[in-house]
């Protein structure tokens, strides 16, 4: 556990020491801020009409996970592949550190970084809460935020796993991004067309596990299992990639 934390802390610090953290944080927070502002304007306009809807922050969390598809590959591409390219992996693999501790530590470092951004965006529901009487449904807000963290976890797990297989950052980024696009959009298409196996495609489609349930405030065991098993799969692939590297 301590080793995982040491690796995670180094990666977390690395994000802030390099410009990546600020670039990613700036872009994500800017886009979300604009979306939130537009929404707030829309809600206030509607509030004077009978057709007014109950404001919530699901548009912010919905946009957040959409941005993750693009930003997580940029955040995970260097995690293991760069250690491999620079040769520093040799230092880590000869330190008293187990392979899975290294991989989980890398994942945790990325997770804590996005967690920091998530905490910052909690300001949006707080603002809405102040505008609305008798306040917003916090259980729904927190469920959608749990959804963001679960998507983050799965994306980062897969990203770290892929990063461990390559020594080139750009290759890592493209493979990761392609996989995310596939999981987020492409795999869902055949679900409505395929005569057989539609359920399988629907289950694999990541966006439905978020938009249809968690972002609406619904927690289902199936969704939790989906995100956590993708995380575990990614971390397992990463650890195995390191082990294969040793034996080769």
């Amino acid at each position: 556990m301590r080793n995982i934390w040491i690796i995670a802390k180094k990666e977390y610090d690395h994000y802030f020491a390099s410009l990546i953290a600020y670039a990613v944080a700036f872009t994500i927070l800017l886009v979300l801020g604009i979306i939130f502002g537009v929404n707030l304007w829309y809600y206030t306009n509607n509030a004077f009409q009978s057709s007014g809807t109950i404001p919530d922050s699901s548009s912010v969390t919905g946009a957040f996970v959409f941005l993750l598809v693009f930003f997580v590959p940029a955040l995970t591409m260097h995690l293991v592949s760069d250690e491999n390219r620079l040769g520093t992996l040799e230092l880590l693999l000869t330190a008293p550190l187990r392979d899975h501790e290294l991989i989980v530590g890398k994942w945790l470092g990325g997770f804590l970084f996005i967690f920091t951004l998530v905490v910052i965006t909690l300001v949006y529901p707080v603002v809405i809460d102040n505008f609305v009487q008798p306040g917003i449904d916090w259980s729904m807000v927190l469920t959608s935020y749990l959804g963001v963290l679960l998507v983050t976890s799965a994306f980062l797990g897969l990203g770290v796993g892929i990063s461990a297989m390559f020594s080139n950052q750009i290759a890592t980024m493209f493979v990761t991004f392609t996989l995310f696009v596939f999981l987020w959009w492409l795999v869902g298409f055949p679900a409505n067309l395929a005569p057989v196996g539609a359920d399988v495609f629907r289950y694999l489609d990541m966006s439905t596990h978020f938009y249809d349930t968690l972002n609406q405030g619904v927690i289902q065991l199936g969704d939790l299992v989906y995100f956590l098993s993708l995380t575990a799969l990614g971390l397992f692939i990463g650890t195995t990639a390191i082990e294969i590297r040793r034996w080769r």
Partner: protein, 308 residues
């Protein structure tokens, strides 16, 4: 401290090291000498817990490198050949990270001591990316020494350094080797001669021979060789030399001088000088060339070694 028996490693179909057996005691500096691709790095990677061997066993600091890899890694300090470091970290932050990974209780003190040992205290806050090659080498050594390991494994510790730095690093290794076991690899023969208590000559994954540097040289020196130069025409010189008793193997050299040999313990140089003067030649130079470790190496590793 290091016990290696029948160690073998295959990369696919290629056998990198083949049935290596050797050991190293505490307080001993053992040098691995061999051309590039001889299997030095592979052996060191196995001993440092980086990769498991295909066959055979290795015990380092009392633990098996395969079954107790983590215990071995706790007790070994390893500097990889290319000295990989995080360029965007400061020297201090990097060493702190490595110290944390080794769970050192008094990390700050250890880092300060180690920086002093490698004479890098004044660069502690500098970025590693801005350091010279020699300084990076010292930081690589520092991370290997942080936890005061029982066994120190250094892969080509002086490669790429300028002559002044080479001397410094060698002195440092000698100092460390007084109490600990040091295994270092090199393809510079004078280096092995200079710092090692024992040299293992390795080629094509096999140990060719193993001895102290002095013994190695003594074992192979069958004859002493002399290079001789005179003013003017040298054409008749070989004929004249052959007349002097004890002179063997006379060979004109491309630069106009002549090389000859004599049996050890029978120094014929005074006789040669007298003969030359008597015949009216102007003697410019007469130089003894002992068989170098380079030549020993070539002789021991055979024709394959010459390619390198």
């Amino acid at each position: 401290m290091i016990k290696v028996k029948g160690l073998t490693k295959d990369y696919g179909a290629r056998r990198a090291i083949n049935n290596l057996t050797f050991d190293a005691e505490q307080g001993e500096i053992v040098g691995f000498l061999g051309p590039n691709g001889a299997g030095k790095t592979t052996t060191m990677r196995i001993l440092s817990g980086y990769m498991p061997p295909t066959d055979g066993e290795a015990v380092v600091a009392g633990f098996d490198v395969v079954t107790d890899s983590i215990e071995v890694r706790r007790r070994v300090g390893y500097m990889p050949e290319t000295v990989p470091l995080y360029r965007d970290m400061s020297v201090y932050d990097f060493l702190k990270f490595m110290a944390d990974l080794r769970h050192l209780p008094n990390a700050e003190d250890r880092i300060d001591e180690t920086l002093e040992l490698v004479a890098m205290t004044d660069r502690a806050d500098g970025y590693i990316g801005n350091l010279s090659k020699g300084m990076k080498q010292r930081i690589g050594l520092a991370q290997a020494l942080l936890h005061r390991p029982e066994v120190l494994i250094l892969d080509e510790p002086t490669i790429g350094l300028d002559p002044g730095q080479v001397v410094e690093v060698r002195e440092l290794i000698k100092e460390i080797g007084k109490e600990r076991t040091v295994l270092l690899s090199t393809h510079i023969l004078s280096e092995a001669q200079n710092i090692c208590d024992r040299v293992l000559i390795i080629n094509k994954g096999k140990i060719v021979t193993e001895d102290t540097p002095e013994n190695l040289q003594a074992r192979l020196v069958g004859a002493e060789r002399v290079i001789l130069r005179i003013r003017g025409e040298q054409d008749d010189l070989p004929l004249l030399l052959k007349k002097v008793k004890g002179v063997e193997d006379v060979e004109p050299r491309s630069d106009g001088s002549v090389e000859f040999a004599f049996a050890p313990g029978r120094d014929v140089r005074p006789e040669v000088a007298r003969a030359l003067i008597k015949e009216g030649y102007d003697l410019l130079e007469m130089r003894l060339v002992g068989l170098s470790l380079e030549e020993i190496f070539l002789e021991l590793t055979g024709s394959e070694g010459k390619g390198n």
